[in-house]
Symmetry: C2
DNA sequence: CTCGTGACTAAGCGCTTGCTTAGCATGCTG
DNA sequence: CAGCATGCTAAGCAAGCGCTTAGTCACGAG
């Protein structure tokens, strides 16, 4: 990999004058680390500024508030997750192949980008109301994509599930919770974990797999 | 039910002079609600005291600090979870029946006592070091109980899993994450959810179920 | 009755918080 | 060159924090 998971969330189009100054990016990165480790409320603006190598006041040149940093992290993280899910659901292959790919990538993302994942999934309550509205819509879209794929698999006779909503909850739940417990010291790589979770989920959905 | 999930965590032996005064219990209850809703750091001692119907200073007659309240909640919550897991693992029946019961009760508990569950699983980082040591040992015990039951099922030919540790992680992960998303407005009761998750987990573990 | 004790409150202390203000160096524009 | 915008820092403000202090009240013992 040539860039960190965090850097991938705020890509700069090549050949274009850098729209997001490097200092603002450093602030985002420091905020993600702090929010993930200590939580939004236990993180001070001094923590973030120091982590980005600036004085506390410099933060407010790039973002209007501490909450605006959280909102941007949460929005970008949810957008990336939704894009990942859409790619897998709309990709090629039968429902079983697409579900396997979805779980593999969803799981690996929550392991690799676990700091962003923690902020995205466990700091929702700290979002300002307007930012929460945006993010809640993205979360609903993610759930709908997963449900749609399960339903397609059921219709095709590939999956056997009693309740699609419950099954969809279980699938996303497994992946999300990875960001809570995964650490650098975990024995599996994100990709290994993704493959193993892919197997487990397919069996859970009643798919016939070797 | 004659008592709330929270009340069950701090039972008073019948016929014995109440060891934990009612005021201390009200503080615990208010602290659980606040910590679960807003997180430890966003909760003020004034929130807790007001929720228990007292002035801020009264809190310090019953507990030496805000962190001591968190420690007591986390300890009792983990102890209750471990007891629940031990009962299921050591109970009667074959590994399939015991695993079904474990998942049903583990899941239902995380739905019913979701406020305690949130504090237990998502506020670990706010624990003082000595309290964390105690709680980490309980968490390890829980993981070992689940792994032991899976291993027993594999030996008996009832389960088919590639990696016991990964499977154990998935089982506990599914249950823990319930406390994140379950609400009063959820369409399933804790018991219904438990039964459905029990089915899903048994299939995930490769058990032959109807 | 006096005294001691336990549960509590009103007031507030020292500190940290998110954020602001004033000012300074740099570099681009005309 | 002047004029000005940009990105930053040093200093600090008002508000809110965890927790303490001093004192009140009800009540049981002697």
């Amino acid at each position: 990999m040539t860039s960190t998971p965090i850097a991938e969330l705020w890509p700069t189009p090549p050949g274009v004058a850098d729209a997001r100054p490097e200092a603002a990016f450093r602030l985002l990165r420091a905020a993600v680390e702090s929010f993930a480790e200590r939580g939004f409320h236990a993180t001070t603006t001094r923590d973030i500024a120091t982590g980005a190598g600036m004085s506390p006041a410099a933060l407010y040149i790039h973002y209007p508030s501490k909450a605006a940093l959280l909102a941007e992290i949460s929005r970008a993280g949810h957008a990336a997750t939704l894009a990942l899910v859409r790619d897998a659901v709309a990709g090629g292959g039968d429902p079983v192949a697409r579900m396997r790919r979805l779980v593999e990538e969803f799981t690996a993302w929550h392991a690799r980008a676990r700091t962003v994942g923690r902020v995205v999934n466990y700091e929702l309550h700290a979002l300002p109301a307007d930012a929460y509205t945006v993010v809640a819509a993205l979360r609903l879209d993610i759930e709908r994509e997963v449900s749609a794929l399960i339903e397609e698999g059921v219709s095709a006779g590939a999956f056997q599930v009693a309740e699609v909503r419950t099954a969809a909850r279980a699938v996303t739940s497994l992946g999300i919770d990875v960001s809570r417990w995964y650490t650098d010291r975990s024995s599996e790589t994100p990709e290994e974990l993704g493959r193993r979770y892919g197997e487990l989920v397919l069996r859970m959905l009643g798919a016939q797999v070797g």
